[in-house]
């Protein structure tokens, strides 16, 4: 692993800050606590700035797409116009008596009648496609996994659905509860454990300057 000079400096800074922050959890030293809090605050600031940079990057990409007239550049026009319009409206709302802050009237209107509506509509179409996919599940050559998935899906749907009084109780709800709380949770536990171990390993690699962005 080759580390350049400035890379070594940056690596040292990152490693020291990480260690100090980590030590603040294990060592009850006021200096460490204050440093940790300060580092966390700076991180929040950096995260906020990153969001802004992300927005600017998004704007630049789509502007370039418009200038190059590559595929889908018309959609980029709508995106850029929307972005600039919302930002402009939000910035002009206080001056127009439409409130201030993110919750001004303009933003609320855009959010309520555009963002929320579109999002809700798209999520509503999901049920149709999911049902159709389930309808064609065994059209290809059935396998053990596909058949098991189909059975579990049917049990979950029927177990979750309200039971008609006319229909006999087939115990599907209890089965569904058992499936969702026993095997599913067991799998979820394993996933969470794996995630936790991965986070620890990644953090150590970063703190030890082994992983990106320091090492090559």
């Amino acid at each position: 692993m080759k580390i350049r000079f400035w890379g070594a400096v940056l690596t040292a800074i990152a490693v020291s800050v990480g260690l100090i922050t980590l030590l603040g959890y294990f060592v009850n030293v006021p200096v460490l606590l204050s440093l940790r809090l300060q580092f966390v605050a700076w991180a929040s600031i950096l995260a906020a700035v990153a969001v802004g940079l992300g927005a600017l990057n998004l704007l630049g990409v789509h502007l370039k797409k418009i200038s190059d007239q590559s595929g889908g550049w018309l959609y980029s026009i709508f995106l850029v116009l929307s972005l600039l319009g919302v930002i402009g409206a939000s910035m002009a709302a206080p001056f127009l008596g439409m409130g201030s802050g993110p919750a001004n009237t303009t933003n609320a209107w855009v959010f309520k009648y555009i963002v929320a509506a579109v999002g809700t509509a798209l999520s509503g179409l999901l049920i149709f496609f999911l049902v159709f996919a389930g309808y064609r599940l065994l059209r290809r050559r059935p396998s053990v996994a596909s058949v098991t998935f189909l059975i579990v899906a049917l049990v979950s749907i029927l177990g979750m659905a309200p039971q008609l009084p006319e229909l006999p109780d087939l115990g599907l709800r209890d089965l569904w509860i058992w499936i969702s709380q026993v095997p599913a949770v067991a799998g979820a536990r394993g996933v969470l454990l794996g995630i936790a171990l991965g986070v620890i390993a990644t953090g150590l690699r970063i703190l030890l300057a082994v992983d990106r962005p320091y090492g090559e």
């Binding site: 966390v40 149709f128 064609r136 065994l138």
Partner: protein
Amino acid sequence: MAVIRCQSCGKPNPDFLEVCQYCDARLKPLEAGPAPEAAAPPAEQPGTIRCPACGKPNPNFLEVCQFCDARLVPLGTAPSLEAAPASAEKPGVVRCPACGKPNPATVDVCQYCDARLNPLAAGELEAAPKLDTLDRLRAIVPPPEPEPGTFAPTPQQAEPDWMWTGAPSKDADAAKPAVEDARSAATGTPADDDWMSSLRGAAAQPAPAEEVPDWLKGASGEEPAAAPAEEIPDWLKDMREESAQPAPPAAPVEEDWMSSLRGAAVPSEPAATPSEEIPNWLKSMRAEAAPPEPAAAPASEAEIPDWLKAARGEESAPPASAISAFTPEPAAPAEEIPDWLKSAAPPEPAAAPTDEGPDWLKAMPGAEADAAPPSPAISAFTPEPATPAEEIPDWLQSLRGTEATVPPAEPAPAVVAPAAAPEASGEEPDWLQSLRGTETTAPPTGAEAAPATFAPEAAPEAGAEEPDWLQSLRGAETTAPPEEPAGAVPTEGEPDWLKALGETGAGTAGAAPAVSPFATEEFVSPFTDQPPETPTLDTATGPMPDWLAAMRPGDLSDALAAIKPEPSAPARQPGTALFGEGLEQTALPSWLEAMRPVEVGEAQLPPETDTYQESVGLLAGMRGILRAEVAVAIPRKSTTQVHQLEVSEVHASQAELLARLLAEEAEARPEAKRRAPLALLLERWLVFALMATALLLPFAFGSGLFPAPATIGLDTQAAYNVVETLPAPPLAKPALIAFDYDPAQGGELNPAATALVAHLMHRGVPVVGVSTRLAGAAVGDDLLHKIAADLQTSHSLSYTYGTHYLNLGYIPGGPVGLLQFAAAPRRLFQRDFAGSSEVWTTPLMTPVSRLSDFSLIVLITATPDSARAWVEQTRSYAQGVKMLAVVSAGADPLVRPYYEAAPPQIAGMVSGLRGAAQYEKQAGLPGAAGERWDVFGSGLLAAAVIILVGNLINIGMGFVRRRKK
């Protein structure tokens, strides 16, 4: 560099080679080991033998010296092979001395390298035909394989006649029909069954009875087929009677006609042949009026050699046999001398023993007159009506090797017996006597060897008119020979060819004319009454070919000596006489001359003058190679540095094309839109329609289709209990609500969030909203306002923003921001979501300085990561604060572990729309969950039914499809 001569082709090769570079024959035996070093004394080196002639060393496996061709080992002894285990050889197997491969003992030549397996015996060498050139030609270029059903001539037959009769000329073309005639006549039969071989009668396969004329059969000693008596000439019958003697054993093919003639040296008693014993053909010749009997003609016109026909003056007749040539024919005009007579040249003696040799000579009896089976040509000379002895043509006498000159008036072919000899006066010519094997000492001129092939019974009658063909053979001008042989007959009736032969009589014997005895100008008729003189080569009256002259017993040794390859003998130049004076040597064609083997006597390699031995390069250590230039042998690295690559336009365009192709590979190509099939579109629309119907149907039938859940889940109950146990105002601390979901998940989470927040508000617990998602703050803000408005409307409760509820807004940075909020909430938010900067001065937020100051944390999320982040980051800062989770049905399994942990990190959960409905029922606050319960149920049931039915249909269709296969 030492040289090894290849035993197969005779060409020199370097000693380091194992295989001849010309013919790929092995130069050294496999067991013999490497060639002896040239520097070492050959006498002391094992495996070498010193040549007794030149004294040079040779490998011991050679029989002949490679320098002087002298024999290294006596005849009959095999070359020594040091490493050849003779005892290891199987009986009947002979190992080749050259290549070392096993060969059957019956073969004489190695099957692999064509080297002789058995040394030539003394007799074989002497009797071996000295046509080394042709033999070697045959060895090098084997005759082509005959096609089935076609004539397969023997090598001898395949060779042009001129090779045997002289230089090639137009006369050879005339002679060709003779061969072709024999070939056509013998098509399908063994190739040896031609009239020539049958005349010779030596190792000749008898032709089928139906192909060989009877007169030929008689000559060959076979019983002729029964033929009509009128078809068999009398002379043929007579000859047949005489020839009805046990035929001598077939001599080997290589048996020289010379050897047969050798017996002629033995004086044989002249057969006193009365006139009535004169061959009929001779009689007919003398009568000169007797027309040729058609019966005398051979059975088929095609069997008549061309030369005989030409002698008879037939223009378009097919080649006639030898017999027909001697039937009394009108004299051919002098200008119709056959070409073969004109161009006939003395053949090489070595060629004589083949089938192409003059058959009549072969048939001429010496001592073998009675032993030799009469050939067809001999049958031609079967007794005809006796011809006077004085009419023995000179050519015949000359052919017998006598000094008697052939009278020019007696032309007769030297190789054919005159079928129609001039009528003799009754005296049998000597040549006839000699033909019958008598002790004639004055055989016809130049017929010393011919008597072996002849069986004349009567000399041609003297004075009889010569047939035209005889005259034509003799030619228009007949030069008077120096000596008229006895028994010379008038030549006025002789064919021209006979006359021509007579003209070239013994006077030129000493000069050795280089033309055929049948040449018109030189032909001397053998049919002469002149007493035959002592035949000598020098006194031959007729144009005696060299090979014939060499056949004389007296000169046989000389001939053999001339034939035998003598190392010291000078190379015979082309065109020079082989047998010396009197005969002109045949000039070989250039292509044949080119194949002449190297004269062993003279083929001594010059001493190695170039001793240069290459020392560099690939040919290092080799000699005799062209010297390479230093620049080539030792390539040097170019001193010029190539700084710029010269690229042509074509190359540049090709490189550009390649670069463009590579660049296109990296570009993303738009997917080609595929139009779905109609069946798939119909299915999709059908499913959508059913789902839409199921979702819209409850609105038509009203609510209550599906009853509300009667029971409540434990997790929902626990959440309800937590909210219910919160302290009421004025001790109520605000509850923190985290709206971490997007509007897309609002349809499932809003009912649950509304139910729980409404329950909190209804109990008077202040609510503070926050979100870690960008849209969550807006969702929460909208939800809080809506709930407040609904409670104010339904319960006449006044909930004001900033007093009863507040929305802090968005927490940036994900887990880091959450950690900061958890550690110091006031440092994170300076303003609320409404933009008020006095958020921390409000009565709601005044008592809140850290996360533990909240009474409850409600996490509303559809993603497990958000729930995990909240749990991981805030638990250490809000250990006494309970946390509730409102999650979607999909996130429930991943969040439930936190609920089921010990101690639980989440106090209660409200999962999906069912949980919301249960919570609403438990809290007594009807909400959206109850309103969507029927649609929720119908949709789920419809989905379940569609999925179940569709898959059942798919299973059935797959089953049917598999059965069809």
